[in-house]
């Protein structure tokens, strides 16, 4: 029973927020325009979160997101020369290469993936800052993608495919097994390295898509492209009730619930006109409270 309550806390939190903001913002929250805004703002993190779930399911943390987003955007821009469609394809290609980089460092370098990711985040940011310093990387064209229906379609497709892969194919199922017991997974005849790599590749694909969405919102690639994406995604996924230890309790719905909660919280507080000095404090308290109630402590030998 307590288990059940705990499991519904993330979704309950989301619903409570929605009801609360609907009632307290004089109807401003529940306008079509505002809902559209929320979906568009949440899209980038949501797309990236879908891929991240695969990595977290096999018990790794991908800290490269922000830097990898900047790096792949810069490289895609430089090679595509400002052609939008080429940019999107290349962003995905470089996203995948970033994922592969982390995977290779992790698997063949035998270094925890978050450390490899951290380095990539660091170096990627540096490359982006250095490269964007020498030229202004704008693709004005991309503004035409900054449209609700485009974003909705992208999110629906990415989440839909992610949901299917995660729950109904070997790719997702094996991630969970690896997260639970990598040794036993290997001895069950499943190539752990291969499936870990696949997870990083998926994360790279979603990252590339997220980079493209980010571009369509900001038109230009800058040194700050994708800033804090990794922490945003991590925060959002925890709000969505994801297990930090991965394994069979991992649910891909954490991505959608968490990201929406995160952005609705931001949105509602601004609609309230809350004193900006206190916005982060309220956000943090809500975050700590939700996670404290919803976390399943039995999944952890020791809460890391």
């Amino acid at each position: 029973m307590r288990d059940k309550i705990r499991k519904i806390i993330p979704i309950a939190g989301l619903l409570i927020l929605i009801i609360l903001f609907s009632l307290t913002t004089g109807g401003k929250f529940f306008t079509w325009q505002n809902l559209k805004n929320i979906v568009m703002q949440a899209s980038i993190a949501l797309v990236a979160a879908v891929g991240t779930v695969f990595v977290m399911a096999h018990n790794n943390l991908d800290f490269s997101l922000g830097g990898a987003c900047a790096l792949s955007s810069v490289l895609a821009y430089l090679i595509s020369g400002g052609n939008l469609w080429l940019f999107i394809i290349l962003a995905i290609v470089f996203g995948v290469l970033c994922g592969l980089f982390t995977a290779v460092i992790h698997i063949y370098g035998r270094v925890p993936a978050f450390m490899g990711g951290l380095c990539l985040m660091f170096a990627g940011r540096g490359v982006a800052q250095t490269a964007t310093a020498s030229r202004y990387m704008m693709i004005a064209d991309s503004g035409k993608l900054n449209n609700f229906w485009v974003f909705l379609a992208v999110v629906a497709v990415v989440f839909g495919i992610g949901y299917f892969l995660f729950n109904y194919t070997k790719i997702g199922k094996y991630q969970k097994l690896i997260g639970t017991n990598p040794r036993a997974t290997d001895l069950s005849g499943i190539s752990v390295n291969k499936y870990k790599t696949i997870a990083f590749v998926i994360s790279g694909i979603t990252l590339g898509i997220a980079s493209s969405l980010a571009l369509s919102r900001s038109l230009a690639v800058t040194g700050n492209t994708g800033l804090n994406l990794e922490t945003d995604v991590l925060l959002a996924l925890s709000l969505g009730g994801i297990s930090m230890a991965g394994g069979s309790a991992t649910r891909i719905r954490s991505a959608i619930i968490g990201v929406l909660t995160y952005y609705i919280l931001n949105n509602g507080m601004l609609l309230w006109g809350m004193n900006p000095d206190y916005v982060d404090i309220v956000k943090a308290v809500f975050f700590l409270a939700t996670v404290s109630i919803s976390i399943d402590r039995s999944e952890y030998d020791l809460i890391a």
């Binding site: 943390l61 460092i105 063949y108 370098g109 035998r110 270094v111 450390m115 490899g116 951290l118 380095c119 990539l120 985040m121 660091f122 170096a123 990627g124 940011r125 540096g126 490359v127 800052q129 250095t130 310093a133 040194g223 804090n228 922490t231 991590l234 925060l235 925890s238 930090m244 000095d277 206190y278 916005v279 982060d280 404090i281 956000k283 943090a284 308290v285 975050f287 700590l288 996670v291 404290s292 976390i295 402590r297 952890y300 030998d301 020791l302 809460i303 890391a304």
Partner: protein, 333 residues
Amino acid sequence: MKTVLKVIKSYGLAVASPVVLMLLLLLVSPETRSFAAVWNVILQSLAPAVLGWGVLFNMKIGNWDFSIGARIVLTTILAGNFAMQITTALNLGVAGFVPVLIVLSVLIGIILGVIVGAAYYFLQIPTLIVSIGLMLIMESLTRILYNGAGIHISNDYMVLGKMPWNLILFAVIFVFASILYYKRKVGYSVRAVGSNPVVAKTNGINPKLLKAEALALSGIFAGLYSLMSLSATGVQSAVQGTMGSAAAVFDAMMCVLIGMSIAGQGNIMFGVFAGAIVTQLLKMGMMAIGLPTTFNKVVIGVFVVIFMVGSSRADLFQKLGAKLRRKKDEVNA
């Protein structure tokens, strides 16, 4: 003879890495060919090393601590302002300010560390989440307290940032950190829990409590870092923007990662110090050869990858060496 060999084996890499890098730098950049330049790098590495030691405790025990950057800023602002107020109220002058600042920095550092540790202990949620949550709150506090004015002290008060006090302070902290890690129960327990919390638990160590303790302990070092950095820069402004303090955390982690890779069997505190020197050298090198400083991040990132992979795949290098030797033998035969 045996002990000499042992020392060389233990500290070889930790000493060699910065030295080789320094020599390389001297080769490519004529500007750095002075004792002053080398000395400057070492002085600049003192504070990051101290922060690294604090971060080390957390990394060893498997804590994620995003809050340490925000804690440092908040500690500096609170300790600096309180110390100023006390000094002015009691008319203590510079001689009075310094000890007051030392005490307050360490004290507030510990208090903030204890807050994070306690939040982890009582809420029982991952340190990653606790520390991000508290980071957001503490960052906000830096903007709210003193109307976000931060702290600025004039040069007279920056005694501890100058020779020889900076070195003395550093030496004291070095000894303190080494004792804590190698000679106190807590150091043993940190290593035990970091490696195997279940067994540590059956041996009477409470891993949860110890993880909380490590967070609190890192507060001492955060406080000392605050002290050193305020004494070196004279200023600390509020954190700008949400997660504006996270970059500092990553900087420190990079430094510790290098340190852990090159420390070998030697004193890890020294390893982290060497790691700090390496990072500072890279930064200075960038400037000296005229690369944009944003490129620092790239170079440091690449370096850390190389060091980490190098240390975890030492087996590969050995194999490679063995293969080469075999080839040579074959050729000779």
